[in-house]
Symmetry: C2
Subunit: 363 residues, 2 copies
């Protein structure tokens, strides 16, 4: 099999050890004679597995007992609508930090729910989202402040919270969860699609302080955090396979030394690429201020669309895959999640150097 390096922003690369384990026990899970895809979600085979996955995630993120951990479906995007319905019960008013595309999408969906008001509390639009707003101040009459902690498209990231007040913070951690240490206590709720730093697409993790949704009106079953929490996310059939793979990834992360170790490796991988980008005469990253640079999603351009295109095609031919930037910003993007190996970054830089030499780059 050809060794490829997959820089996709999600679905993304998974640990090779995890894939091998999934493959080896795919036909008969724990010698049950049934595939993990065939087991009942009411059997102990399932409940033991899901319980362990939750316990391992709690350990990895040091999640306090007063937070529920929910294994849901629908992607982070579904939470754009469900978070308001479950959490915005007092003021029906939500503040957003406008930090880029996904933050805007989250606000738009909140605005489409009748009875809720959304407001931009801070924006980095003027810097074309290459920076992030900090020192955010808020009146108290908001149910929560929504923060996209890592902006997958724009390549920016909050390493610390830009707000220290009393309004609960809801953080979209889709592309940084388990890749950087955060204090769960700083958030009222954390949510993340699994397909970037956790496991296969089709699983969404919600970590939410129980008291925040206790006052919600009764909602239809699959809209309701309270109903899901009461049933340990098995209100209906949960996405068993995705939870299973996520659980294997959690075990892998624990074996590797946990989130602090992942953060250290991610910092090293990112540093290699940023250092090269900062020294290159052909390539550059639009995120010039170091403190806002994402650890996991690194956009870069040559400044010439034709050369960008040629680079992506040639990289692909050299087994450096999915380097095309998001259609909204163009250029290139390297996503370096937990499971992405350092060797892949080195190969990319090597290739970029060769490419730069061939182009005779001046920018």
């Amino acid at each position: 099999m050809t060794q490829v390096y997959n820089f996709a922003a999600g679905p993304a690369v998974l640990p090779a050890e995890v894939l091998r384990q999934v493959q080896s026990e795919l036909i008969s899970y724990k010698n049950s004679g049934m595939s993990i895809m065939e087991i009942s979600h009411r059997s102990s085979l399932y409940t033991d597995m899901a319980f362990q996955a939750e316990a391992d995630l709690r350990k990895l993120m040091n999640i306090p007992a007063e937070y529920d951990v929910l294994f849901l479906q629908g992607g982070a995007t579904l939470q754009f609508a469900l978070a308001p319905l479950n959490l915005a019960n007092k003021y029906h008013k939500i503040a957003f930090a406008d930090t880029g595309h996904w933050a805007q999408r989250a606000q738009e969906d909140g605005q489409l729910l009748s009875g809720y008001t959304t407001e931009v509390a801070a924006s980095s639009k003027l810097s074309n989202y290459t920076e992030l707003p900090s020192g955010i101040e808020l009146a108290k009459n908001y149910d929560y402040l929504h923060l996209t902690m890592n902006n997958t498209i724009e390549g920016t990231m909050y390493k610390d919270l830009p707000y220290k007040g009393d309004v609960p913070v809801v953080g979209d951690l889709s592309s940084i969860i388990l890749g950087q240490e955060y204090n769960v206590n700083d958030f009222g709720m954390i949510y993340a699609g699994a397909q970037k730093n956790i496991g296969p697409a089709g699983l969404t993790i919600v970590i939410v302080k129980h008291t925040l949704f206790e006052e919600a009106p009764e909602l239809p079953a699959m809209f309701s955090y309270a109903k899901q929490a009461a049933k340990h996310s098995a209100l209906n059939t949960p996405p068993v396979f995705a939870i299973y793979v996520a659980g294997l990834v959690f075990k892998w992360l624990l074996q590797q030394g946990g989130v602090s170790q992942m953060q250290r490796r991610n910092e090293e991988k990112a540093q290699l690429l940023y250092d090269y980008l900062d020294s290159s005469k052909l390539f550059s990253t639009p995120v010039t201020e170091k403190k806002w640079r994402s650890l996991t999603n690194i956009p870069f351009v040559t400044g010439d669309k034709a050369i960008d295109k040629r680079f992506i095609v040639q990289a692909q031919a050299n087994n450096l895959l999915n380097l095309k930037g998001h259609r909204l910003v163009g250029g290139m993007r390297a996503s370096l999640y937990n499971a992405f190996p350092r060797t892949g970054v080195e190969k990319l830089i090597e290739f970029m150097q060769k490419f730069e030499k061939a182009v005779g780059g001046t920018r």
Copy 2:
């Protein structure tokens, strides 16, 4: 590996050929060097696969062009809330046939959405849901009539529609889709969780007439059929792995001769078990009227809870798994979906005969 027979109501047994293919290409999908779980949903590897899965499903069910086929998440249960939001735009009023637990759950969720009225158009509550209401008549001022076509818990099933009027029918086909021939044109919308007759949990199929949701107000992204249809179900990251396995099952079904062939086999398998139940002195099914009997979910009891319990334990020890009935009705249940082999039914009957003899059954 021990040969087991898995009678689970869902997640349920998958075709052995499909599991073997998933296993064989799990590490490198189509020699890409990436697992199917790692491929980007914006790559042609994904779009080709999803396009083919949809084409095969359209072929299997003879789905007319004016119906959209959506690959969603959240289980059939999420559709209990989304169908009203997308389809009930004229009268905000929905009629339900009360045919059992899941029909009631669907109605409850509709009722919890503010601005919508739900009404019971017909009920088989008086027969304790062992029959189904037929010859349903309705005034025109309903947006749709909701029918649970196969009642997984109660073991009843509509082989034909019980309503012939102008109000569109929304059918929950979760436990019978692709197992019995239906005419899609008879429905305004069909929905089904995948984990019974299609593939792994985490995928929901929605087949919906485009004109029915055109008048819906703008909804948050993941609530909206219109937005999902416009993006071919890739509005956000779709559940790639589940769609992939479903696609393999569709190919398998086509190779087996399609839905008519599956129906024939399901009829044969069910007949074997019903014939035995009708002749047994120990076991019986609560669904006495043959025309209402489900092809895929067959509940049965001995009439003595202690004996039921002993039966389930001994069956399990004989590799006849997951025969315990739903907690709401107790007793036993054999789910005989498309991928469930005839041999398994024969083994079950053989075991029941032995058990009956040992008990010295009189009921």
